[in-house]
């Protein structure tokens, strides 16, 4: 499977665009409670695993990148673009995938749902149809194009959610426990796609430490703080020890 590289905007002076997530003193308060604090880290790796206990702040970190919560303090930059100052552009560069595929489907049928992602992009109807067909073919959903999205299996629904994100050719994919509700086979399918087949940078929040081990770097959160950033092996080993 070959995917054309996503169109990452080049910087004005012609230097190659950065593919870096930069956090500088970032904090997030929700309903008056600080749920993420003092996050300072630079992540240039392609596959970034995010691990940590329940309630440690992983989803908040993912939602920050996906534009679903705003930083209360500090600065976040996605590939050189400031999350707050250039919010619109960053939102277009980031594609989010969540655990529950049902809740990511907006349109009634498979093809319509994928096409929904291309609304307001100034494409002709024919161009949208062409891209939708190509995407559905690439991810093995072409036969179900006109099926009610609801009639797909859990794995196919997650594949649909992912197709709907990938069709926009984002520069960064943020996946918050994308395999949590899938059986073994579908979980392998989705993780192989995310880890080995797409060219995009990936932030993968997961409790599946085998998946985390296949990433290029692991970030561990505890109690709303960045606890450790390193190669996956040592981070996972220490996390396993701490879990007891």
């Amino acid at each position: 499977m070959t995917t054309p590289l996503p169109s990452i905007p080049a910087s004005p002076d012609g230097t190659p665009p950065s593919r870096e997530l930069a956090f500088e003193g970032v904090g997030v308060d929700l309903a008056g409670v600080t749920v993420l604090r003092d996050v300072t880290v630079t992540l240039p790796q392609r596959r970034i695993a995010v691990i940590g206990s329940n309630g440690s702040g992983k989803s908040t970190f993912a939602r920050l990148l996906g534009g679903l919560v705003a930083p209360s303090r500090g600065r976040v930059a996605v590939h050189g673009h400031d999350l707050v100052a250039e919010r619109k552009q960053v939102l277009r560069m980031v594609g989010s995938v969540f655990s529950n595929p049902d809740a990511q489907i907006i349109m009634p049928t498979v093809a319509e749902d994928v096409a929904f992602s291309l609304r307001r992009r100034g494409l002709t109807r024919e161009e949208v149809a062409r891209r939708v067909t190509a995407t559905l073919e690439r991810y093995g959903l072409a036969e179900r194009a006109d099926a009610p999205a609801h009639s797909l299996s859990g794995g196919q629904k997650q594949l649909l959610a992912l197709s709907a994100v990938l069709i926009t050719e984002p520069a960064l994919i943020v996946a918050d426990e994308p395999t949590a509700l899938l059986d073994g086979r579908n979980s392998r399918l989705i993780s192989a796609l995310l880890l080995d087949e797409i060219p995009q940078q990936l932030v993968l929040v997961t409790h599946d430490l085998e998946l985390a081990a296949r990433c290029d770097v692991a970030v561990r959160f505890e109690d709303g703080r960045l606890f450790e950033v390193d190669d996956p092996a040592p981070v996972i080993a220490r996390y396993r020890r701490d879990l007891g």
Partner: protein, 198 residues
Amino acid sequence: MIALYRPGTSPLHRLPAGPKLIALMLLAIAITVFASNAWYIAGASALVVAGYFAAGFGPLEILRQLWTLRWIVAVTLITQVIFLPLPVAATNTGRVVTVVMLATLVTLTTRTSALLDAVERGLGPLRRIGVDPARVGLVMAMTITVVPVIAGYAASIRDAQRARGAKPRLRILVMPLLVMSLKHADELGDALVARGAE
């Protein structure tokens, strides 16, 4: 209840969504206003059945769609029979069924996206009084998407309660269903923002 598009090449499939919607509206009004006795209803039903055949659907499909309406039929009939003589209640119910079957025929032969485009175009003039046609279309599409999901939640709650030995009752279904639906709405809201529909 809300049937989804079945691909096909019949004349009904090829008819643009706008004219189909207008025809549906006119026919629905005509049936509601003028079909005052059983003969008119029979005539209207025959027309609807002919429509299904013309679109390539057989008697089996018609029966299947009728079966999905059984609750509507029951509720309409029972509530009316309390106040009206049986023949009148039956005529009224027949009228409702005919109109719903006609609407189903339109959704069966028209892509949702085409329907929504037509609705958005039709609502265009209302922009001046502050209506956002795109938003209305989006809400309609999401309603169609969400109905089977919520129905699935209801079924799973019923199963869970049965498994624990509780007799399924509406009262104990409502609370968990409400909680699940609200959670779903919350997550769907996230997906909307994430997918750029702010």
